[in-house]
Structure formats: structure tokens, C-alpha cells
């Protein structure tokens, strides 16, 4: 879509994030929400960021277009959208990216729309902020989009208020709002968490369809591995502001390498006997531990796990990296490998589990 920013390099990756750190100043000290993470999203692919609540997933994605409040927040690092460094843009230039090149949908559709305006008004607003479109045409496009995202009788529903929409319909309307300027990247922050399981499946299927239709990339945040299996091309596992493991979705499910990823897998309802969650809790973000962030909760942790920095990410397969001491030279990786999980055909099981609720 039209943009007054000329320096896009169409050959560069859609989104490159390097050494992204997001901190918040609080009365108790500096809170480290995201600690120097890197990731890339290429054109047309779906990348899932997985991790339990509080691991920094949302803050990481909201740092991309700097939706987080600054201050108290502070974002450092490099974020390139098709070669254009978003960190160097002025607030005004950044606004022309938001909703235009990079769009967002959020976790709680109940609260994500202003209750005082009609759904149609809010979609038209999203369009007219970026494009000088006559009101009539904007309305027609909004109705088309509402229809496209599966709102029945869209031209009548255009004038309805958010409280007249169901939760699933609201999330559909939010998707329509996000797509109004045909973005290259859709950042979806737990878009199905607040919805019924049946509605979840419908929304995921809609996102899959729209992704193909618009050729956009999706950066998907979730804590639900079932959803990951359904939608992801690549997976990034985050814990306490750090990347633990990353890789192709099949590799992550077939060979979960990091003890944290394995622990998440075991939490899936149909995996093994231990569904009591992961013992322990997230480290204090005001004072993260030395060494591997997961070490205090890791059953395999040895002394080397608790000194220095988070272990460097080691490539254990093509496009599969893990940040764990045991995969480094001089350690025995078989200590942390979980043959039981690897033998399971995890991805098929969980996808049928979600798929079963479809329709």
C-alpha cells in the first residue's frame, strides 16, 4: 500500500529483529522484559513466539512498532522492516508504519474496540488514517472486509456497536480492521486465548486463509502449543525475556531440544502423565539469575548452568537452534534429550486435537 517512506528494500527480509531489549523503569528498579533477542520473519511465513505468561512475548512484539509506553518503557536494538530501521524513525514516520505495513490484533477483543463508536466507524478510521479515501468508498471497503472475515449481513452490522458483537465476531472485526490497509505483517498477540475453543479454530482457519489471500506474514504470540501446531511455520520459544529454542515447527515438535520446550510439551493435555505444570516460577525480572534463565527450574541443571550469561544458541540441525549448556562442546546432550517426547508424533496428535473442534 502507499507509503511516504521510500527506503524499503523489497529484497531484504520482511522483519529483522536484532538484539532487541525492552526494559521498564519501575520504583523497584529496572525491569528486564525482553533481553537481547533476535529473530526474523520472512515474507509469507507464520512465526510463533511461545512461552508461558510473563516470558516477554507480548512486550517483544509490541516493541516492534513501539506500542509500549515510553517512558517507563525503553526499547533498544535494531528492528528492520524490509531493510528500513524502525528504531531510527520519528514518531510520525512510525505512525505511517503502524496499521499500514505492520498491523496488530490483540488478546482481548472485548476491550480492544472503543464502546462509544460503531464497529464500522472504527474500521473506517483505521483506513482513513493512512489513505485519503472518500468516506463512501472507505465504508464500502470496510463492509467488504467485514464480509470477508465472515461477518454475516456485513452492511447492516457496519453500524452496530462493539457490544452488539459476540467475542468471536469482535475478533473478526479486529482482523478486518487490521487488514484494511493490506499490511505486510500481522502481529497477532494471543488472538484466540479469550475465545471459545470452537471459535478459536474458526479464527485460526480464517487467519490461514487470509494469509494466503493477502500474502502477508504473521507473527503469532501464544502459550498454546496446540495452536502452534495448527498455524506455525517456525517457532521461537521464549522464557524470561530470552530465546530458549527456535526452529522449524516440525523440528520443534519432533525433537524438542531445550528442557523448557520439553516441559511445555509435557503440559499438553494428551502428553504423558505429568500435567501438573512446570514446577517453580519465572525468575524475578528485576533481578534475573546468572547463566541460563531456566536453570533454577531445570531438572538437569548443573553448576555450569548458573554462571555467566544465557548460553549461546547452538545450531543442532539446519534451522534449529537451542540455548542450553548441554548442547555446547564438551557436554553430553543426551542428558537433556527426551526420547519419549521425540518418539511421539506430537504434531499430528495436537493438530487433530484442535482440528476435531473445527466446524
Amino acid at each position: 500500500m502507499s507509503s511516504n517512506l521510500p527506503d524499503f528494500d523489497e529484497d531484504a527480509p520482511l522483519l529483522e529483529v536484532e538484539d532487541l531489549s525492552t526494559t521498564f523503569r519501575t520504583d523497584a528498579g529496572t525491569l528486564l522484559a525482553v533481553d537481547g533477542i533476535d529473530f526474523t520473519v520472512r515474507k509469507g511465513e507464520t512465526v510463533c513466539i511461545v512461552g508461558e505468561s510473563g516470558s516477554g512475548k507480548t512486550v517483544a512484539t509490541e516493541s516492534i512498532t513501539r506500542l509500549i509506553k515510553e517512558p517507563p518503557g525503553q526499547v533498544d536494538g535494531t528492528i528492520r522492516n524490509k531493510g528500513l530501521n524502525l528504531m531510527e524513525l520519528s514518531e510520525k514516520e512510525l505512525r505511517s508504519i503502524r496499521g499500514n505495513n505492520i498491523a496488530h490484533i490483540f488478546q482481548n477483543p472485548q476491550e480492544a474496540m472503543n464502546h462509544c463508536y460503531t464497529v464500522g466507524w472504527q474500521i473506517v478510521e483505521a483506513l482513513r488514517v493512512h489513505q485519503d479515501v472518500p468516506k463512501k468508498e472507505a465504508r464500502a471497503r470496510a463492509i467488504d472486509l467485514l464480509d470477508r472475515v465472515g461477518i454475516a449481513n456485513a452492511s447492516a452490522r457496519f453500524n452496530d456497536y462493539p457490544h452488539e458483537f459476540s467475542g468471536g465476531q469482535k475478533q473478526r472485526a479486529m482482523i478486518a480492521m487490521a487488514l484494511v490497509a493490506e499490511p505486510d505483517l500481522l502481529i497477532a498477540d494471543e488472538p484466540t486465548t479469550a475465545l471459545d475453543v470452537t471459535v478459536q479454530a474458526q479464527i485460526l482457519r480464517l487467519l490461514n486463509e487470509l494469509q494466503e489471500e493477502y500474502g502477508m506474514s504473521i507473527l503469532f504470540v501464544t502459550h498454546d502449543l496446540g495452536v502452534v501446531a495448527e498455524i506455525a511455520d517456525r517457532v521461537i520459544v521464549m522464557y524470561s525475556g530470552k530465546v530458549m529454542e527456535r526452529g522449524d515447527v516440525f523440528q520443534i515438535f519432533e525433537q524438542p531440544a531445550h528442557p523448557y520446550t520439553q516441559a511445555l510439551m509435557r503440559c499438553l493435555p494428551d502428553k504423558g502423565v505429568d500435567t501438573g505444570g512446570i514446577p517453580g516460577q519465572l525468575p524475578d525480572p528485576l533481578d534475573p539469575p546468572d547463566g541460563c534463565r531456566f536453570a533454577p527450574r531445570c531438572e538437569h541443571a548443573i553448576e555450569d548452568c548458573t554462571i555467566g550469561e544465557q548460553p549461546a544458541e547452538m545450531e543442532i540441525d539446519s534451522d534449529h537452534e537451542v540455548s542450553c549448556v548441554f548442547y555446547q562442546h564438551g557436554y553430553d546432550e543426551s542428558v537433556v534429550r527426551d526420547r519419549e517426547l521425540e518418539d511421539d508424533t506430537a504434531i499430528e496428535d495436537s493438530s487433530t486435537e484442535v482440528g476435531a473442534t473445527d466446524d
Binding site: G99, F106, A112, N114, A126, H130
Partner: protein
């Protein structure tokens, strides 16, 4: 249609409320001593006539010897046909006296109301955006000052400083200047300022606290993610929902000050408006005029609350009147 039916019902209720107030006024008046009759008795006694006979004659003259329900119906008819009697103290019909008072009251009430409605919410939202900064503290301090200081006292101080010491504005109000003239602005600037400081304090605080909630709402993040500028987001996404709870406060505040403080402010600044008219009517025991101004204030109160309830539905679509 829900709204049309609601408005009809609400207007009917307003009529019933006014009837109740008029009835209470009638009952109170019935038991209160009538100065005209007492005067007749006194005159008769002074001239050596029978005071009791004079009282009866005076009552007969005024129709007060008739049964109470006849008097009541007569009274009601007069009230609703604007036949509000003769003001002894002003020597003119009551509606005419009230209209003259209203003419002067409106000259400061209209700018005061408009300024309050403009400045109060704006400063409140500004305060919320800059919460806990020196700008917020300054606005908050100003709000509390205006809220706390009695209007009449503040008016006297301002008159002393700006009219007597500095001589920038006239000390004595001149009712004969043209409405839209520089002179009129000069003589009304202090009363308007006093009333605005008194009324925006509460409105500022309410809009600050209400908008603080909406500033952190999820839909503000949505607006930001859409690429909406902060100014637009404040104007559309914060102001609008803030107006809903605020409209309650606005009507309550303005009515309270209109009925209460304006009397004192008019006395201090010597404005011959509705407030001072009521005050003088009370002092002079001019029953008809007191009753007339009571009816005017009743009307303003009832209509103000009616408007407030209707504004609710328009501001917040979630409030539905379909089932009432």
C-alpha cells in the same frame, strides 16, 4: 421506538415532578402567614376597626375563604397558565419581573456555562495525560482552590484588587449597557471568572480521573496500533467515553451553583438577576415572587436532569432505554 417512548415517558415524569413541587409549595403557603392579610388586620386595628372583620374581608377579597380544594385547583390553573400574580415589591406582574431578572442572569450564565464545559473537561484530560507531572499538580491545585474558596468571598477579593486598587473593571454594575459591548464584558468578567473557577474544579477532577481509566484502555492501544495520532486518540477515544460519567457531574454542579452561588455572586457584584430578585423577594416577604422564582428554578432543575438523561443514550450506545 425505544428512545422516542423513553423521551415521552421522561417528559411525563418531569411534569409529575413539577406537579409535586407545586403542590408542596401550595401546602406550605397555605400554612404560612400572609403579610397582606396581616397588614389589613394591623391597619384596621390602628384605625379602631375590628381586625377580625378586616381579616375576613381581606381573605374574601383574595378568595381565601373558599374550600381548600377549590383554591388548589385555581392555584394549579394559574401556575400552568403563567398567571403567577402581582409582585408587590417590584410593582409588576411576577413573570415580567422574572424575565427581567433572567435577562441579566443569562448574560453571565451563558458564557460561564460554555467556558466551564469547554475548559473543565479539556484541562481534566490534559491533567490525566500528564498525570503526576508538575502540569497535573498545577491543574489539580487550581481545581482544589476554585472548589474550596467560597464564590462570594473570592468575588469580594477580586473586586477589591481589580476594581478598587487597579481600577481595571467598574465596581458598580451598570444594568443599562448594551449586552454585546466591551463595557458589558468588562463588568461581567469578574463574576464569570469567579463562577468558572468554582464550577470547573469538580468537572476537572472527574474528567481527570475518568479519562485516566480510558487512557490506559485496550482500545487506546488498538488506536495506536492503527496509526492514529495521540491528539486524535485523545479527542475521539478518550474524550467521548469520559463525557458519559462527566455529564452527571456537569448538570449537578452547574445547577447547584446556578441555584446557590449565583445568588451570592449577584449580591456581591450588584447584578439585578434572578438570584438577587429571589433574595429580595424573600427579604420583602413577596410571596408571589418567591413562588415564581421557585417555579423557574424547578423548571431549570427538571429540564437539566431531563437533558442529562437524554445525553446519556447518545454518548454511550450501551445504555439502552428499550426495556423501560
Amino acid at each position: 421506538m425505544g428512545l422516542g417512548k423513553y423521551i415521552t415517558a421522561r417528559v411525563a415524569w418531569a411534569g409529575i415532578v413539577s406537579l409535586v413541587i407545586v403542590t408542596i409549595a401550595f401546602i406550605l403557603m397555605h400554612f404560612a402567614p400572609n403579610p397582606a392579610i396581616q397588614q389589613a388586620a394591623t391597619d384596621a386595628a390602628l384605625q379602631g376597626n375590628d381586625p377580625q372583620e378586616a381579616i375576613e374581608r381581606a381573605e374574601e377579597l383574595r378568595g381565601l375563604d373558599r374550600p381548600i380544594h377549590v383554591q388548589y385547583l385555581d392555584f394549579l390553573q394559574n401556575v400552568y397558565t403563567l398567571n403567577w400574580g402581582w409582585s408587590e415589591y417590584r410593582s409588576q406582574p411576577v413573570p415580567q419581573a422574572l424575565l427581567e431578572g433572567l435577562y441579566y442572569s443569562a448574560q453571565y450564565s451563558v458564557p460561564w456555562t460554555i467556558l466551564t464545559l469547554l475548559i473543565g473537561p479539556l484541562v481534566g484530560v490534559y491533567s490525566a495525560i500528564n498525570m503526576y507531572s508538575w502540569k497535573d499538580h498545577l491543574a489539580t491545585g487550581f481545581a482544589f482552590f476554585g472548589f474550596a474558596i467560597p464564590n462570594f468571598f473570592f468575588g469580594i477579593i477580586l473586586l477589591l484588587v481589580f476594581a478598587i486598587w487597579l481600577g481595571w473593571v467598574p465596581v458598580i454594575y451598570n444594568p443599562d449597557v448594551a449586552v454585546f459591548s466591551l463595557e458589558n464584558i468588562r463588568q461581567l468578567i469578574l463574576p464569570v471568572f469567579v463562577l468558572v473557577t468554582g464550577s470547573i474544579g469538580g468537572i476537572m477532577r472527574v474528567s481527570r480521573n475518568e479519562s485516566a481509566e480510558f487512557l490506559n484502555a485496550d482500545f487506546m492501544k488498538t488506536a495506536k496500533a492503527k496509526g492514529v495520532s495521540p491528539m486524535r486518540a485523545y479527542a475521539y477515544h478518550v474524550m467521548r467515553p469520559t463525557m458519559v460519567p462527566l455529564s452527571t457531574t456537569v448538570v449537578g454542579q452547574l445547577l447547584a451553583i446556578f441555584l446557590g452561588s449565583s445568588v451570592l455572586v449577584e449580591v456581591v457584584f450588584g447584578i439585578p438577576g434572578l438570584g438577587r430578585l429571589t433574595f429580595n423577594a424573600l427579604i420583602n416577604q413577596d410571596t408571589n415572587l418567591v413562588l415564581g422564582s421557585l417555579l423557574v428554578f424547578t423548571f431549570i432543575g427538571v429540564v437539566g436532569n431531563l437533558i442529562e438523561d437524554l445525553v446519556f443514550t447518545i454518548l454511550d450506545p450501551r445504555i439502552s432505554y428499550d426495556d423501560r
